[in-house]
Amino acid sequence: MSDDTFSQLVDLYYPSLYRFALSLARSEADACDLAQQTFYVWAKKGHALRETAKAKSWLFTTLYREFLRGRRRGDRMTALDTVPEKELEDVTLAPETVASMDGGVVMAALQEVDEIFRAPLSLFYLEDLSYQEIAEALDVPAGTVMSRLSRGKAQLRARLASRSAASPSNVVSFQNSKTKASHG
């Protein structure tokens, strides 16, 4: 692979790869390391990929595998596991509320989403891959991606609502008082 081709590939995908890595690793240093490692692997093995068009999926897949390989066993975010799913679904959050938040706050909320939902959710919001390509990258069935996106969005909505509630200027509505108490 020529230097030019490699540079083009880096320019096209390193921002999304870094942000995907940041959502997974929850640390800027680890995210940089993951993004670099992914391109190192490409530089060593990417030439074996016949179709350059598949480079995008290959890079996201490789980064995810490198993340799984490097993370400690059992290091899994479970903070929201105890909240019943129905209650998460009931949390509403206005698009305007999200628009008023800082990007770092939204990323921090995403980082709190359970890891099993976080990976497809990050890829969905970065918009580089379709749900089918996300399924291939994460090596799960397409239907599972849809299910995880649905549940991941509910978790993210709850996390964003929780952060927004801490700010008096934002209005977050809950459809029942029980849920409201849970997220107070």
Binding site: E28, G103, M146
Partner: protein, 241 residues
């Protein structure tokens, strides 16, 4: 499809509209167009997704990351082992394919042999745009078949043993030695593969095949079996026969 199912599907629809052409969303999108309640829900969901996506994409990239990646990539490529170089990987892959073909050749009949031969030749032609041809005999053959007046289907003055000893590229497919030369004609690159004519089941008329965008035609004369391959299509092959 009820609204609950439509919502489940539409939650996977990217906010930027990149999924507009995906058939899987067609039914749910149509339902959202018909049902006002679902339509309102979808508009709100997309607006929230757009907002989240925009926020995540606004997260700054650390200064120097790009430069580090580029520098690291160059280092990795420079330290690639000789066996990891593309040429050697391609050669290793070809050897593996040829070995597996050799085993298959021993187990199948002559007709299967010719199908395998064609498949392997198409694979070989697809892997390299130009193979190197060496030696005087190979050069003479290349010069002959490159001439616009040469009819490939007419008997060609080919001496396989001379080609082999003179350095022509030789493939061993299923225990058969196949000579190969590359030549240019009519603006395209062609690969000509020649072997001793098998004793039976050879095609009585030119037989065309295609695989992964590479086309081939197989024919015989009294002494030889020929396969010519190119990515220019059947018409380009026919024009040379």
């Amino acid at each position: 499809m009820d609204n609950q199912e439509a919502k489940f599907i539409l939650k996977a629809y990217r906010p930027g509209g990149a999924d507009a052409g995906l058939a899987v969303f067609g039914g749910a999108l149509a339902q959202a167009a018909r049902d006002p309640a679902l339509h309102d829900w979808f508009e709100r969901e997309q607006a929230r997704d757009r907002a989240v996506a925009a926020k995540l994409k606004s997260v700054p990239i650390p200064a120097g990351l790009r430069a580090s990646i580029l520098a690291g990539g160059k280092m990795s490529a420079a330290h690639r082992s000789w066996w990891q170089q593309p040429t050697w990987l391609a050669l290793a892959a070809s050897i593996a394919i040829l070995l597996s073909t050799a085993v298959a050749w021993q187990l199948r009949g002559p007709r299967a042999d010719l199908n395998q031969l064609t498949a392997q030749i198409l694979d070989d032609a697809a892997h390299e745009e130009r193979h190197g041809s060496h030696g005087r005999a190979a050069s003479q053959l290349v010069a002959l078949v490159s001439q616009s007046t040469t009819k490939m289907s007419a008997p060609l003055p080919i001496d396989l043993s001379r080609l082999k000893t003179d350095g022509c590229r030789v493939l061993n497919i299923g225990g058969h030695e196949v000579m190969e030369v590359c030549f240019e004609r009519n603006g395209g690159v062609f690969h000509l593969y020649v072997m001793t004519r098998p004793s039976r089941d050879v095609p009585s008329s030119p037989r065309f095949a295609a695989q992964n965008g590479v086309h081939s035609v197989m024919w015989t004369d009294a002494q030889h079996l020929y396969v010519m391959a190119s990515d220019k299509g059947d018409d380009a092959l026919k024009a040379l026969l």
